[in-house]
Amino acid sequence: MTTATSLSAPASTPAFQQVSLKRKVKNGVATTLVWLSFLIAVVPLVWVLYTVIANGIKRIPYSNWWGQDLGSVLSDEVGGGVLHAIIGTLLQALVCGIIAVPLGLLVAIYLVEYGRGTKLARVTTFMVDILSGVPSIVAALFIYALWITTFGLPRSAFAVSLALVLLMVPVVVRSSEEMLRIVPDDLREASYALGVPKWKTIVKIVLPTALSGIIGGVMMALARVMGETAPLLVLVGYSSFVNFNVFKGEMASLPLLMNNERVTNSMTPGSVGFDRIWGAALTLVIIIALINLLATVISRLVAPKKK
């Protein structure tokens, strides 16, 4: 820059100076590193998915995989399917959802509609955050201490579902809370002005408006609890047979089946255990993907229409 620049004369050439090389290099390096970090993240994702699909695909396209359990097959024998595990996974998630969704929704409604600004609401929201950080093994231990040691009840799929409730509730609360907050206050006021009581306003106006987002959040939360393994190890035994009774007996599930194969069978590629474990992994991934897809579809169907 020239030192004695007259302000009444136009700037001397070159008026628009080039950015110094040093700054350009720094900028370039930063850009490269940033793009690189994204790619670094994509590599394991693609690698894992590729592994699951490539290794799991062998047994999946057969109807016996989806239609049979392993009750009639020895553990190192080829054959049988994972029907019992699929049923177990879905059943445990369903029972968990039946408890966690109303509970989580009520807490979210409290935080948004009734508790705003109160001390209890601040404490509650803090505890929801803490709950979301509780490791799955701790949740499992708590249910063990409560359900099995204190109440004296046996291990069961229901105990697993209870532990899953602890893991699912914070997710339901947070996503529902967000959806409820998005509903404009205008709508609540319009309803009050018509002489509609507060609880009815929430149930008939606010919830339906937020419903599509809430459903989406719930289904994603369900997909997540389906992959949890720790509660399964502590709270229920593994069965090779289909079992519909959540309160009694052992029940299989996809993660538990995978763990069972891992400890009882060899993992050399091409072996029975290898095929089964990756097949189960792929089945789990497929189910999770389908639920996420369903979530998006239902969300869109239920959303308030503009046309």
Partner: protein, 307 residues
């Protein structure tokens, strides 16, 4: 107040109170069931590395080794995950073409949808063998440096804290990234425009506005990631090899057990109350640890978010 309103308000408030009480209950139940085991412990709970709990009349267990391995794996994971997450968050908010940013963000979020048992299996069966040459090279070349020396599960370099840390880092990426992204997006536009108007390069804009503004959020997000890493159960149970007769020796090529993986791996010992109590005691320590980390993380984040 109308009856409908009173009932509904009480229901939702009750749900909120229930969540608050729940956290207290978790701590309480774990404590109560840990005490008998702690009383029967012949070794120092906090300082011993031993763990023999299968005989309830002769229990001798301590968490020192578990604590060190837990922290070591988490630290290794954070060392890998933190810079990459920062890069991804910057990528998604500052570098990615706007139309594609959402799609790219979705890709990162997919990492969170993969169940941890699958990550564990991929880690030990696929990743570990693939990086084995590299691990061996490091082991040999840097064997004079304590942290990189051959570990307590040598000659195996697969079931080590190094491998576990890598896999854990991949699992932490979506968590740290998502919150950091949120904070970066909230950088006030006037700040950014001010920097641009001064002729700053993109990296300079980020360095002077986005990073200072988002620093607290990024730290908080990383602490949340730490909380998650401390509690990860099945992935580590699958990957980490248990050394025989040896303990953690300050090498990342050591094997071992974390709080969570120890408990998960020994679920068969849960058949008698006293033995189970030892694991519950370990679980209690984990609960307190994650509680503190989460508490601190939220404090750091909300300090900056201002709400």
């Amino acid at each position: 107040m109308r009856p409908g309103d009173r009932i509904f308000k009480n229901m939702t408030t009750g749900a909120g109170i229930f969540v608050v009480v729940l956290i207290g209950l978790i701590g309480l139940f774990l404590l109560v069931q840990a005490i008998p085991a702690l009383k029967a412990d012949k070794a120092s709970f906090l300082l011993s590395r031993a763990w023999s709990t299968s005989d309830p009349t002769n229990m001798s267990f301590g968490i020192l080794d578990l604590l060190e391995v837990t922290i070591a794996t988490s630290v290794v994971a954070l060392i890998f995950a933190m810079p990459v997450s920062l890069g991804i968050a910057l990528f998604l908010t500052q570098y990615a073409p706007k139309r594609l940013a959402r799609a790219f963000a979705y890709v990162i979020d997919l990492l969170a949808a993969v169940p941890s048992i699958i990550f564990g299996l991929w880690g030990i069966l696929v990743l570990a063998p693939a990086i084995e040459p590299f691990s061996n090279w490091i082991n040999k070349t840097f064997s004079w440096f304590p942290l990189l020396a051959p570990g307590n599960v040598a000659p195996s370099v697969r079931g080590t804290i190094f491998t576990a840390g890598l896999v854990l880092a991949v699992m932490l990426l979506p968590i740290i990234t998502s919150l950091t992204r949120e904070v970066f997006e909230r950088t006030p536009t006037p700040h950014i425009e001010g920097a641009l108007a001064l002729g700053a390069t993109r990296w300079e804009v980020i360095r002077t506005t986005v990073l200072p503004f988002g620093k607290a959020g990024y730290i908080g997000a990383s602490m949340l990631g730490l909380g998650r890493a401390l509690g990860e159960t099945i992935a580590l149970a699958v990957i980490l090899l248990i050394p025989v007769g040896r303990f953690f020796d300050w090498s990342i090529f050591d094997g071992g057990a974390t709080f969570a993986s120890k408990i998960a791996a020994n679920y068969s010992e849960f058949n008698n109350v006293t033995s189970a109590g030892a694991y519950i005691a370990a679980g209690l320590v984990l609960f307190l640890l994650t509680f503190l980390v989460n508490f601190a993380a939220r404090a750091v984040i909300s300090d900056k978010k201002g709400d």
